[in-house]
């Protein structure tokens, strides 16, 4: 082992362990999921990078949003994301979660995923190659090392903002069934949509 690494590891042993054990939640969104089977199996073998798919959200910490997100899927994404344990990392895969992609004026597809759940990284492209997932994963390592993959903290700190956005498009979600409806959509400047 590189000796220069040792102080860094001692500084935050949890992050050092975390970044090599990413458990991706099994969650199929849109067309990008077709890239995931070759990624996790023998052709590209994501386990080399410490990424293994996990069947339940409660034991997973990497959430790949693979493709367009319809409103119905967004409800399931929010539900899944709320169930995952901290720290959790979300990666938007493909053009559609970034800005709607080819569905930019669709009536049923959300355009900016980061308005509803915090996103730690994006992979652009339609479709991105499986290699792009590994670039994203190695990039995510760097972010975790530096403490920049803090989407779960942003979600906690700006919960009202995310809830208000979620409620605006999905008012019938079970999580809003007993809500007061007083959340306001005052976003911090870094999260605001460009106007």
């Amino acid at each position: 082992m590189d000796r220069a690494q040792i102080p860094k590891i001692l500084k935050s042993p949890a992050n050092w362990g975390r970044k090599y054990s990413l458990w991706a939640v099994y969650f199929c969104t849109g067309c990008g999921i077709i890239e995931i089977p070759p990624v996790v199996t023998s052709r590209w073998d994501a386990e080399r990078f410490g990424v293994i798919p996990m069947a339940t959200p409660r034991q997973g910490n990497l959430f790949l949003i693979t493709g367009y997100v319809s409103l119905k899927t967004l409800g399931a994404i929010i539900r899944t994301y709320d169930q995952m344990l901290n720290p959790k990392y979300v990666v938007g895969f493909g053009s559609c979660p970034v800005n709607g992609g080819m569905y930019w004026d669709s009536y049923n597809t959300i355009k900016h995923l980061d308005q509803y759940v915090p996103v730690d990284g994006w992979i652009s492209g339609c479709m991105p190659r499986p290699e792009a997932i590994f670039i994203a994963v190695t990039h995510l390592w760097t972010l975790i090392d530096k403490g920049l993959a803090d989407g779960y903290k942003r979600y906690k700190d700006n919960y009202d903002f995310y809830c208000a956005n979620q409620r605006r498009v999905l008012p019938h979600l079970p999580k809003f069934a007993c809500g007061t409806g007083t959340e306001t959509a005052t976003a911090p400047a870094t999260l605001r949509m460009p106007t």
Binding site: S70, L71, K72, G100, D105, Y107, K111, L170, H172, M193
Partner: protein, 178 residues
Amino acid sequence: MRDRDGDRDRTGHVADADVNEEDLKQRIADRMPQCGVTVPKPGRLIATVPRDGLLSLLHLLKTDGFEHLSLISCVDWIDEGELELVYHLWSQEKKVHAMAKTRVDRASPRMLSVILLFRHAQTYERELHEMFGIDFDGNPRQVPLLLDHWQGIPPMRKEFDLRRHARETFGVEERTDD
């Protein structure tokens, strides 16, 4: 059943078919004089009827061997104030794609359900009810299929302002193509 798996042209249609679309056309025209039948190309049959005759036409086609309802689609003729329903039928034996077309009033579209003839039409009608706002009399389950919480005019109608909806609901930025 005849063996018709040989001699296909590029479109999959059997070139030397002994099924004659003109015969089919004549049979339908004999039994339903109010029905306008055309054969735009081999393997394709289009029958247009008034609204009340559609069920009889579908029954006629079904007994003629068109046993598979592939799809029901809808066209919005906004200038004529009508919605056109297209029932796509396929005959495995004849290898002919038949379309039964009918038009309903656009302001209050109602149609008789065809689930007595084709049970799986239930899902297609449910989707048309959701996307075009057509009421199907006799369909017991016209509840939302894909849109959970839709309010306002159905999204596939032409007067639905797609861009405005996307802007107001999802905050899509306006694009200027210059």
